[in-house]
Subunit: 184 residues, 2 copies
Amino acid sequence: VLEATRTLLVEKGYAGTTVQAVATLSGVATSAIYRRWPSRVRLIEEAVFPGFGPLRMEPTGRLSDDLARFIDAYQATFVLPSARAAIAGITAEYVASQQVQPDQDYLRLTVRPLFYEIIAAASGDVVDASVDPDDVFDMLLGTLVIRSMVPLVGQRALPTERLVDLLLRLFSPQVEPTARPERA
Amino acid sequence: VLEATRTLLVEKGYAGTTVQAVATLSGVATSAIYRRWPSRVRLIEEAVFPGFGPLRMEPTGRLSDDLARFIDAYQATFVLPSARAAIAGITAEYVASQQVQPDQDYLRLTVRPLFYEIIAAASGDVVDASVDPDDVFDMLLGTLVIRSMVPLVGQRALPTERLVDLLLRLFSPQVEPTARPERA
């Protein structure tokens, strides 16, 4: 059923991925599908975002390395063709229903705790304690989502190392302006 | 017609804002609406994002002030109830149609040139020339869009000054790690 859902998302788009179409392609009755998933959105969510078991990683303490690994793994989910087809559709349905899911993160991507771990494990003078990791995570999430959803942004190449550099800048302890070296 | 479109977005959501419904509420025939706007998406876009005439501003050169004014004006568009209802729906349609609009920016928000102007006008040693303004703009755009679309992110308070601080950090010239003051 999940495989059929992903196939339909790629071939027919979000609108074409109905429970009926999934039933036909998978050979599983719609009643059985609805017993397992209460709604079409939940089915699509689970098919596209199976959760982040594979992303479990031990932070090494080298912040740039850890962020690069984190971004590569996280981003991989957003660029799958089935995910591209699903993200905007799922989000539109949530907005329309004004539904808030306090018990889980956006799109089942509960990676925020791992992000905190990586920041907490960073060794060296690279993290300014006055920067809220949630603010940085939201910027990263927004950047990845918009790259997935908006073609004009997604077309611009932004290699992982450049995104890592930007995140390091966000966390970097700031020097007083007077202490900054003069630039020509 | 545009006013009726905005009213319907707030009251009936994106799905309920059909050209037929706009015609009924505004008293304008659907044929006349289609003469002016080739599609429902274009009508909704123009109703919600009338372009950024009012955002024309002269950069003062004080980067933090200019960014704060820019963000306040830009963000105001995203938090309108009609915009919240429209953004995810419009984006989903673009993704579904795989349509790229090379001649205009996302959601008619052609504010990128103004952002460049602000960065170019910044006085003092606050902008590292090695940082690509496009990268920073994409992060800002992603942050604002995700705040508008994802309730869990939008609920977190992120005042303009904190977002300005994060952008200043992104642009800030970096000191060599060895030159950084020791932290206790």
